[in-house]
């Protein structure tokens, strides 16, 4: 049984007990525990179920590489599925639940899959469920999908807060083991800015558990001294609980700080995503111990040897009373020695190497531990917990030599350097055959903006196993990085470390070497995804020879641990099956993040209110308090309609139209783009930007203009006013202001840079109000201050003046067909002016109106709307706007494009008005049905609706559309699609539905 020891526990604070629950049961632990340690201390070895076969799963590791001990953590707004028990710090009130079982962890129906395992080999999906077709959708897939996933889907809204932080430095060091600390020291001494991050809550990595001595001090003392030294330096930033998550181009790196995961609800952000920009990165990320592939290696109680040691020394937890150590290297002897010292039983060390190990083996024998050389495990016994194992000869096929009782198996297949961050951005690896590991190839680093390598690796991550080499390497790498990043001091900070002499490991990819099919089919590679040795062998047999194919066929390494434990063993099995060398088969691609990071941290502050900026006009709050139904338009919010109590949105719109046509309407038009263009060449420039001639516009006058893209398509429209000898003011659509302004700058900077023109976007400087309707003039006259009579201010003219004491510019333009003024005033006085109009207008029945009313009124007049009549495929000629295309100009944007065969073509659909025969409203987006079908069997069409409304003015449906030879077919009746109903007939008419002579606006 696993239990808390009376001694040890360097990371826990026994003075501070904490309570937590697991599957509803209350347990206790200590501050400083990980949840895995706490659970083990309470003899909770069974923690979850595997993905495919629902096999019992217990803790196997002690860090971020853990594939098994995943839990549903927390509740409601603090819930998190798939939390790793090994990286979750235990705190008071923590609640955890096991995952992926039904009905309970102990008894799980899904475990039947395990019995059927032989029918469910790798890739079984692809070969089964093919017939009959409908069974897949209705029977097979639902079953497969139902069994998907591990943790529960969160239900409540996230109750936490997140943020981002941009950090700049010269050298970033990832990993706070002795290598990272030493590299930081060495880099910091050169004076450059250093950032050092460590994913756990503790510094020093493995050295303190491994009994390393540095500079004559026990590792822990050296770590304390070094940290103190680093902390006082101005140029060093150090962060624990911060994972180096990804390395990206040009020295960009992500660091993921888990600020408050262990103190939920304390008001601090839960996570902070550091977006680091540095010149050099040193990854001192250490290594990950490899499991061994023997039958039953997935049974709870089979653990990594170093993890067993960690639980004892770091947390004072013994995973079991009797531990068999099985290894192919010296390091695992440390575990045996530790256990022995802690008074626990180690019945035997099985060393797969025929010759055994070095000094550490000697120590073990001296401590009275039985050591068997050339031996391995034939099979582990037990179900939900190890009960014993069968010993065999490593060289054989698994004949059982001896059966032995135990409750823990501590396995070690050697160490793999953590090369992930080196590889994220293209760093290549070498195969080190002596140490049987992939190490970074210093000659093929990831390349930075200057074409030189920008990542270095230090310590165990760089393939150094011995502490002396590790600290020496770290000194050198830290220094080299700092130098490359501009550091000036010449001094390398050296450190000297000592540990035991060790003999090299001997690679063991399968235990025993000649294991039978039966044993191999129980030897797990990927514990979470249930990939066994036989699965990888089957993949190879079936031609999935590329390691990438084998991965995808078997799902090896695709689980939440991303193959941290399984990939190397799987790769070795694959190479063996293919009779190839490991380096020739190669690894799969390493992708960020190093271990999974919260989605919320990616979004940072951008949630809720801060999800996206809302652009607000000066009158925004007024609209908001007058029951505006909002519509998002190009980042802005505009009022769709002002809905009165008891009204539907539709009714509100109708009311607004009628009132504006008959009396007076007020529109907040502030979002309209306003761009000032000035200079000796401004006229020439605008003649290029617009299809019309703008240079000839008279001072004081306005002209409606069109803009096209170079590809010929209509992209924007608006009224241009000549406001000075060399100055024009261009109005754009609400969504178009920034785009058109940017385009003007682009042409001026990159094509006509010798033209003397300045452009300023003053959209936000001005509030703009459209005062529309028969009573428009009356209300302005009431405000007083300037002459707005037809003589003083005729249609398509503008004038500056004061209205109601506020200076502004008044344009006599109309988008509604009514008498209309658009008045621009400084934005800071916009609200005041608006309220003044509302008040003064009351006696003239003024009502504010929204965008939908605007749209209907313009449609009644046959005016086009960018985005409705145009969709990026329409040219002005399609819309009968030839009058706005200057024939005199040699050139304008889009002119050349419009000369191409398919643009200069009379068969293009053209704008007309449409009226149903029964007065009903055509459906939005409806198509006109033509006879016959095309070569692909699609029904032919001869037109489509671009805008369609019920006109409250004309009391019937009106529409505009593009129709084949439309303008020549006035009176023709077409058949338009309706969704879920028979087509409806509509007649081609003029699009000028209302006041065709323009009498109403020109008064």
């Amino acid at each position: 049984m696993s239990t808390r020891l009376a001694n040890y526990g360097r990371l826990i604070n026994r003075a501070k007990a904490v309570n937590f629950t697991f599957n509803g049961k209350v347990f206790n632990g200590f501050e400083g525990d990980t949840l895995a340690a706490s659970l083990l201390a309470n003899d909770q070895m069974l923690i979850g179920r595997s993905f495919k076969y629902h096999r019992p799963r217990g803790v196997v590791a002690s860090g971020g590489e853990e594939p098994n001990a995943l839990i549903n953590l927390g509740v409601e707004g603090h819930f998190e599925p798939n939390a790793r028990a090994t990286t979750t710090e235990t705190f008071n009130g923590l609640t955890a639940e096991s995952q992926n079982h039904f009905p309970s962890l102990e008894f799980d129906i899904g475990a039947i899959n395990s019995k059927l395992a032989r029918f469910l080999p790798a890739g079984f999906y692809y070969k089964m469920f093919i017939h009959p077709r409908s069974f897949w959708k209705h029977i097979y897939e639902p079953i497969i999908r139902k069994s998907a996933g591990l943790g529960k889907a969160p239900k409540s809204r996230d109750a936490d807060k997140y943020e981002h932080y941009y950090h700049f430095c010269e050298v970033m060091i990832v990993g706070g083991g002795i290598a990272g600390l030493q590299a930081a020291k060495s880099a910091a001494a050169t004076g450059v800015r250093v950032l050092l991050v460590e994913q756990t809550a503790h510094w020093g990595g493995r050295a303190p558990v491994d009994g390393v001595v540095i500079d004559g001090m026990p590792a822990q003392d050296w770590i304390t001294v070094t940290l103190a030294d680093l902390s006082v330096r101005d140029n060093v930033v150090i962060r624990n609980r911060t994972q180096g998550s990804g390395v990206y181009d040009h020295g960009y790196a992500l660091a993921y700080e888990r600020i408050a995961d262990h103190t939920p609800g304390d008001g601090r952000p839960r996570h902070r995503l550091w977006r680091v920009r540095c010149k050099q990165i040193v990854t001192a990320t250490g290594g990950i111990e490899r499991p061994l592939s023997f039958a039953g290696n997935d049974i709870p109680g089979v653990m990594l040897a170093a993890a067993v040691r960690d639980y004892v020394l770091n947390y004072g937890v013994s995973p079991g009373d009797r531990t068999v150590v099985v290894t192919n290297n010296d390091d695992a002897y440390r575990t045996a020695l530790t256990l022995k010292q802690a008074g626990l039983e180690v019945p035997v060390i099985l060393d797969a190497r025929a010759e055994g190990g070095g000094d550490l083996m000697g120590e073990a024998i001296a401590a009275g531990i039985r050591v068997e050389l050339g031996r391995g495990i034939a099979q582990v016994l037990g179900g939900k917990r190890v009960t014993g194992l069968q010993i065999c000869s490593q060289a054989g096929e698994g004949a059982v030599l001896e059966e032995i009782g135990c409750d823990v198996v501590a396995m070690s297949g050697g160490w793999s350097p953590v090369v992930h961050l080196w590889s994220h951005c293209g760093g290549k690896l070498n195969w080190d055959a002596d140490q049987a590991m992939f190490r970074p190839d210093p000659n093929q680093p990831p390349l930075g903006a200057d074409g030189a390598g920008f990542v270095r690796v230090a310590g165990l991550a760089n393939g150094h196993l011995r502490s002396a080499a590790i600290v020496a390497d770290a000194s050198a790498q830290g220094f080299a990085a700092a130098k490359a990043a501009g550091g000036t001091t010449k001094r390398v900070v050296l450190a000297k470390a000592e540990d035991f002499e060790e003999l090299p490991l001997s690679p063991v990819w399968l235990m025993p070497q000649g294991a039978s099919y039966k044993l191999r089919s129980k030897a797990w590679l990927d514990f979470q995804n249930d990939v066994k040795v036989t699965d990888v062998q089957l993949a190879a047999q079936e031609g999935f020879e590329s390691v990438e194919h084998a991965k995808r066929y078997t799902t090896l390494g695709m689980a939440t641990d991303q193959g941290k434990l399984s990939n190397i063993n799987g790769l070795a099995v694959l190479s063996k099956s293919l009779n190839a060398e490991i380096p020739d088969v190669g690894t799969t691609t390493f992708r960020p993040p190093y271990t999974a990071i919260s989605m919320a941290s990616l979004a940072g502050e951008a949630r809720g209110e801060l999800f996206q900026p809302i652009r607000k006009t000066p009158m925004h709050d007024w609209h908001d308090s007058h029951s505006a139904e909002w519509e998002p338009v190009g980042g802005w919010r505009r009022t769709y309609a002002y809905v009165r109590p008891g009204e539907s949105v539709d009714q509100a719109v109708q009311r607004e139209v009628t009132n504006t046509r008959e009396k007076l309407g007020l529109l907040d038009a502030s979002t309209l783009g306003k761009i000032v263009v000035k200079g000796p060449d401004a006229g020439k420039f605008l003649d290029m930007m617009y299809t019309n001639m703008m240079s000839s516009l008279k001072l004081g006058r306005c002209r409606y203009g069109l803009m096209c893209s170079e590809n010929g398509f209509l992209s924007d429209d608006g009224v241009v006013a000549r406001i000075g000898d060399q100055t024009w003011l261009c109005h754009t659509t609400s969504g178009g202001a920034d785009r058109i302004h940017a385009q003007m700058e682009e042409w001026l900077q990159t094509e006509w840079w010798d033209w003397n023109v300045w452009v300023v976007n003053i959209t936000e400087q001005l509030a703009q109000v459209a005062v529309v309707g028969p009573n428009a003039r009356k209300v302005l006259e009431k405000l007083g201050g300037m002459d707005v009579s037809a003589d003083a201010l005729p249609f398509m003219a503008w004038a500056d003046g004061k209205l109601g004491g506020i200076s502004g510019r008044v344009y006599r333009i109309s988008f509604s067909g009514e008498l209309s003024y658009e008045i621009a005033i400084p934005a800071n006085r916009g609200l005041e002016f608006w309220e003044m109009l509302v008040e003064a207008g009351a006696e003239f029945d003024a009502m504010p109106y929204g965008t939908e009313c605007l749209h209907i009124m313009r449609a009644e007049k046959g005016f086009i709307m960018i985005g409705d009549e145009t969709d990026g495929t329409v040219i002005p000629q399609d819309l009968g706007l030839n009058w706005a295309i200057s024939k005199k100009k040699d050139d304008f944007l889009g002119k050349r494009a419009q000369e191409r065969m398919f643009m200069d073509n009379p068969d293009r659909w053209q704008l007309v008005g449409l009226e149903t025969l029964d007065g009903s409203v055509l459906e939005d987006g409806s198509y006109a049905i033509a006879t016959g079908q095309n070569a692909n069997g699609q029904t032919n069409t001869e037109g489509r609706v671009t805008s369609t409304y019920y006109s409250p003015t004309l009391k019937k449906g009106i529409a505009m559309g593009l129709v084949f030879h439309g303008p020549e077919r006035m009176g023709d009746v077409l058949s338009f699609t309706r969704i879920g109903a028979a087509p409806v007939k509509a007649k081609i008419v003029s699009p000028l539905f209302y006041d065709p002579e323009g009498k109403k606006s020109n008064v």
Binding site: K161, E163, H164, Y165, Y166, H167, F168, R193, D234, V237, D266, G267, R268, P269, R272, R275, R277, E605, A606, E609, L610, Q612, P613, I614, R615, K616, T617, P618, G635, W636, V676, K678, G679, P680, T727, N756, W758, V759, V760, I762, T763, E764, Q765, L766, P826, A827, N828
Partner: protein, 182 residues
């Protein structure tokens, strides 16, 4: 615009007492430089910086753009002297006082709060006092003026001022201290 203020581990306060003009002109021209000095009493600033004399500030926006800032009281006088001094030049001067919003961040950790939202190096050596630069605050464009080590003004567009204010308040809230430099 409202005068609002938030006290977090950095103070965030809106400043509505400023007028602003945008000047488009060739800043390398000696005539323009002389005219600006004449009109404002402030020398055209070097690239990436802002010059302040007696409350009137000239900020470098681009090789052909200046932002002129001054207290409200000076508005009309300043406009008149600018118009007069620049009348012969090919320039475009626009009042943008109403188009912009300005916030003042103050406190020891102003750089840090800025660094949560703007993708730029805020280290004093890289962004010394006197620097003026345009950048991005989360999802909108803005400008930063390092007035003092513990005082930064940020300028954004009027339409997104509520967003920018909320952003900085959020970044400055107690409990979210990063404290990279204590």
């Amino acid at each position: 615009m409202s005068d609002r203020e938030f006290q977090g581990y950095v103070n965030v306060k809106q400043d509505t007492g400023q007028i602003m003009f945008t000047l488009r002109a060739d800043l390398s021209s000696t005539k323009i430089k002389a005219a600006m000095k004449l009109a404002t009493g402030v020398a055209v600033p070097k690239r990436g910086s802002c010059q302040v004399v007696a409350g009137c500030a000239l900020a470098w926006m681009s090789p052909d753009e200046l932002l002129v800032m001054a207290p409200f009281a000076q508005a009309e006088k300043l406009r008149a002297s600018l118009d007069a001094a620049l009348s012969e030049q090919h320039v475009l001067l626009e009042d943008v006082s109403d188009a912009r919003a300005k916030f003042i961040l103050s406190g020891t950790h102003v750089r840090e709060v800025l660094a949560k939202l703007a993708p730029m190096d805020t280290h004093p050596e890289k962004l010394p006092v006197g620097s003026f630069t345009r950048t991005r605050f989360a999802q909108v464009a803005g400008a930063v003026f390092l007035e003092q080590d513990d005082l930064i003004s940020v300028i954004c567009f009027r339409s997104v001022q509520d967003y920018v204010y909320a952003l900085f308040c959020d970044a400055a809230s107690y409990g979210s201290e990063v404290l990279v430099r204590e």
